[in-house]
């Protein structure tokens, strides 16, 4: 970062679109399964056929309420839908059923932690509202036509909008990660950006640090990963700072992130922005939500990441940072707890999970459930270390192989004959042989060259293909050398 960039502060607000997991679409009875034959999951309602009418899917509505409550939002007393009018061939009715002036919920907040040294930061949620997804356009290569697949049309979509409380691309990344964790805990969405079940647009502006007035904002679209969001924001912040430094004005516009070229390009300016002509959806009657039902949903919310992290700290003695990381993914948290039930050294569990295992999962783009290593397998590995059957170094190798091949660690140790030789008599024979052929080193050691011992240990390890228990070798050697 250039020196003068520090003078500026970045102001970011994020808008997340989330496909809600529901058996049926938001306003009809069609299935929401992903990856089916084009237009096989449609009916007159989601195709917007003349005469068809929408009916709100209760399951989708209550799962929206669940998310809103988990994000600490208030729920609107009267639920009302609006029409957002615009023309696009993937939009069957040429209007989208959405919520405009009375979102389902509002005024929420979640907390992020951006690193071991940083504290919690509150990110306010401005609104969460329910709407319907559009279909998908397909452009066959070389064809002079486009095709439309309406399977996605009508799938319940939640729009989650933050206040401009995010002050760096990293914080944006952390917010998305935390939001995703919460949504995973709620089991309401796949949260898969690549499948499109979670999409994110960003509003970003810059201002001189310490000032209050917001700068001209730019909307960024077309980011396909959380990392992409961070990169796009980093690029855009630099671009805006450079413009201001050169005395130029920032145009209020929408820009598209180009992941291949790593830059943003203009899409449309404010003047070209659409007039959506929102008005109340007359086909859906506004309704009141039963307060008791909301309270019931609130009571039935699962333990969320923050609460779980707190519990992991107090119950298992994890540091705040470790607890946060471990609870950042539900699968990881559950895995940790399974291990903790049968293994007392919780710090060890956390270290291995956060270290080698996470590194492997990240490199292979896998989740802990996708590898064939059960919590009891992992604990088995810890036990082998504790009992001196294998060394810590050896255990790392075994772990990688176990994760790659899906074989139990014990089996690998067994099959490869990796268990440490802890049989004193057997080791004494090897040590004697080593001493016999290394008289010079023995002399050196006795004359005071202590590092000769390291050499001798190495020779013993070599003769045993690394399976000798190093601590035991040490003891035997010293005894033989007369220490």
């Amino acid at each position: 970062m250039r020196e003068d960039e520090n003078r500026y502060e970045t102001v970011i607000g994020l808008e997340v679109h989330l496909q809600l997991k529901a058996n049926t679409k938001a306003f009809c009875g069609c299935s929401t399964l992903f990856g089916q034959k084009p237009n096989s999951q449609t009916c007159p309602v989601c195709l917007g056929f003349p005469g068809s009418l929408p009916v709100l899917n209760e399951e989708a509505f209550y799962s929206a309420v669940k998310v809103a409550l988990a994000l600490n939002c208030k729920i609107q007393d009267l639920i009302k839908f609006d029409r957002k009018n615009y023309y696009y061939p993937d939009l069957p009715k040429n209007f989208q059923i959405s919520q405009y002036d009375m979102p389902l919920s509002y005024d929420g907040a979640i907390y992020i932690t951006s690193g071991p040294e940083k504290g919690r930061k509150k990110i306010r949620i401005k609104r969460v509202h329910l709407e319907e997804d559009a279909g998908k356009l397909l452009h066959p290569e070389g064809a002079n036509y486009s095709l439309v697949d309406y399977n996605r049309a009508g799938i319940p979509l939640l729009e989650i909008v933050t206040e401009p409380d995010i002050n760096s691309p990293q914080e944006a990344y952390d917010y998305l990660t935390r939001l995703k964790a919460i949504l995973e805990y709620l089991k309401v969405s796949d949260c898969d950006m690549e499948k499109g079940s979670l999409r994110c647009d960003a509003n970003i502006s810059i201002r001189v640090a310490g000032t209050d007035k917001l700068g001209t904002k730019v909307e960024l679209k077309n980011m396909n990963t959380f990392k992409g969001v961070r990169l796009a924001l980093e690029y855009e912040a630099k671009r805006q700072i450079a413009l201001v430094e050169e005395g130029e004005k920032i145009t209020q516009e929408t820009r598209l992130w180009d992941a291949e070229k790593s830059l943003t390009t203009p899409m449309r300016t404010k003047e070209e922005a659409m007039d959506y002509r929102y008005f109340p959806e007359p086909d859906l009657v506004p309704f009141q939500v039963d307060k008791a039902v909301i309270e019931k949903i609130r009571r039935e919310l699962p333990e969320l990441p923050e609460a779980k992290a707190k519990r992991f700290s107090s119950e298992y003695g994890l540091s705040e940072y470790d607890a946060n990381v471990i609870t950042g993914q539900l699968e990881m948290a559950d895995y940790f707890e399974e291990c903790a039930k049968i293994y007392q050294n919780r710090k060890t569990i956390a270290n291995w999970l956060m270290g080698d295992i996470t590194a492997y999962l990240n490199a292979e783009n896998l989740t802990i459930k996708q590898i064939g290593l059960s919590p009891s397998d992992l604990v088995g590995l810890f036990n082998m270390i504790d009992e001196g059957t294998i060394s810590g170094k050896m255990a790392k190798e075994v772990l990688i192989e176990a994760m790659k091949k899906g074989i139990k660690p014990a089996e690998i140790v067994e099959r490869r004959g990796l268990s440490q030789i802890s049989d004193t008599a057997a080791l004494e024979r090897v040590v004697d042989a080593v001493l016999a052929r290394n008289e010079k080193s023995v002399d050196d050691y006795r004359k005071g060259k202590k590092n000769a011992l390291t050499y001798l240990i190495g020779q013993v390890m070599k003769d045993t293909n690394g399976t000798a228990n190093p601590a035991l070798v040490n003891v035997i050697l010293k005894r033989r050398l007369g220490d």
Partner: protein, 476 residues
């Protein structure tokens, strides 16, 4: 014996029950009548001669021919709203009312002509050409359900369904001398009715007499889980409301409905009609509906606003007409919609789009919603002191074809008495109450509280039994 086509539904049902007539001979009679007179009237746009054998032999309307307005979806039958833009559109499903008719054994004999997308009061904006008034072929039948009303008047069907957004059932019923009922908003499912203005539209019966209207409403009414705006109120047996008894009934006559613009012959016929009920024991008093004068303006904001959005889906992408010469998607939209919609449809889409536009929403749409509430409150207040309200249905009898097409505003004013019931969601019926000196039918409108169709039927039936206007038939 009278020709079968000229009889009412309830009469035919009794004859079928007694084994005097077969439904096949009713059908033959009606089809022959269509063949003989529809070249003159142009009320029926599609005739379905094949489907009779699959209809159940039992049910409340077993064997009775019903003609359906062309904006109500019938599975597999071309449904166009009399618009080029829906050319060739065959719905893959039945409207709820159609399903109910089929379940009760009614015979869906075809589709009735209408103003394009129900935009109009004269049936002149149809892509199939205008429907003519059976009482005077030089005149309009009213609209937008002009085809349904003219067909009933011309005996081309036994019963018909229309839809009413601002008077589209009642005004043509009045102008054609038949009975037309707009039910309470939410009484009949709108599922499968191609929407004009969703918050105002309602399907209802157009029949030869009040008893048939009660019979037909009983079949089509009721809550439908496919329509969130339908209301879960039990459907009474409306035929039990058909009693000759208005003693002590309080009738309100709004002062605001008898002002400048009303044809003196219409006023006289309606006042005479009110006298008939008074003589039968009803108590008549003048009432006040102060916001009446704003109804038409309010309606012409809310209606087009909703229509502009409802009609956005007609873009050539999935169904109906698509212009083949387009170069790109925008071009396709522009060409398809420019050629597919007629002038009145375009006028309303533009009007509605304008009213909803950023910067105008508050001044037009929002204000219209507020006035709509005021109009509703007028009625709430009025119904504290009366059981029903009686007014003219239309300020004039049928006008000449082409007379008002150049002057949309004067055309819009022909719905001045019918629009308030739509804005307030009230049930309202039009029954024949006389003829002009030129021999044109005049209608009387009866409005009641929401979901009080029973009072409407009682008053209408009493009036009908005391008069014989409904028995007159046009010469064709």
């Amino acid at each position: 014996m009278a020709e079968l086509f000229s009889l009412t539904g309830h009469d035919l049902l009794r004859r079928i029950e007694r084994g005097e007539v077969a439904s096949s001979s009713i059908l033959d009679s009606v089809f022959a009548r269509i063949d003989r007179v529809d070249t003159k009237v142009n009320a029926v746009v599609k005739v379905n001669r094949q489907q009779s054998d699959i209809a159940p032999k039992t049910g409340r309307l077993a064997g009775i021919p019903v003609l359906v307005k062309d904006n109500i979806c019938v599975k597999g039958e071309e449904t166009t709203c009399s618009s080029r833009i829906l050319e060739g559109f065959r719905p893959p499903y039945d409207a709820t009312v159609v399903k109910k008719l089929k379940d009760e054994g009614a015979l869906l004999i075809g589709k009735a002509n209408m103003d394009e997308f129900a935009f109009g009061s004269s049936c002149e904006t149809s892509c199939y050409g205008p429907t003519r008034n059976p009482w005077d072929l030089e005149r309009i039948p009213g609209g937008s359900s002009g085809g349904s009303a003219a067909a009933v008047a011309a005996d081309e069907t036994i019963m018909a369904l229309g839809s009413d957004t601002g008077g589209s059932i009642r005004q043509p019923a009045a102008l054609c001398g038949v009975v037309g009922l707009k039910p309470t908003y939410g009484r009949v499912s709108r599922y499968g009715l191609i929407a004009f203005a969703s918050s105002l539209d309602q399907i209802g019966p157009i029949t030869k007499d009040v008893e048939d209207a009660a019979l037909l409403l009983g079949v089509i009414a009721g809550y439908d889980e496919m329509d969130s705006t339908s209301v879960d109120v039990p459907v009474p047996d409306y035929t039990r409301s058909l009693q000759k008894d208005v003693k002590g009934l309080r009738i309100g006559v709004p002062r605001e409905y008898f002002v400048k613009g009303i044809d003196p012959e219409v006023e006289e016929a309606v006042r005479r009609g009110i006298e008939v009920l008074k003589e039968l024991g009803a108590k008549v008093s003048e009432i006040h509906l102060p916001h009446t004068e704003y109804a038409v303006s309010t309606y012409y904001i809310i209606g087009p606003a909703e229509a502009s959005s409802n009609l956005a889906r007609f873009d050539g992408v999935q169904y109906g007409y698509r212009d083949k010469d387009a170069d790109n998607i925008i071009d396709m939209y522009v060409r398809t919609r420019s050629k597919g919609f007629g002038a009145e449809a375009k006028r309303r889409i533009l009007l509605g789009t304008y009213c909803l536009s950023s910067g105008y929403y508050d001044a037009y749409y929002l204000k219209a919603l507020k006035v709509r509430t005021k109009i509703k409150e007028d009625f709430d207040e009025a119904f504290r002191s009366c059981d029903c309200i009686i007014t003219p249905t239309s300020p004039t009898p049928a006008f000449k074809i082409g007379e008002k097409t150049g002057d949309p505003l004067s055309m819009y004013l022909s719905d001045v008495y019918t629009i308030p019931a739509n804005l307030a969601g009230l049930p309202a019926i039009s029954v024949p109450c006389g003829f002009s000196s030129e021999g044109l039918p005049i209608g009387l409108q009866i409005m009641a509280k929401p979901f009080d169709e029973e009072t409407i039927f009682r008053v209408a039936y009493t009036f009908e039994q005391a008069t014989d206007w409904h028995k007159r038939k046009p010469m064709l």
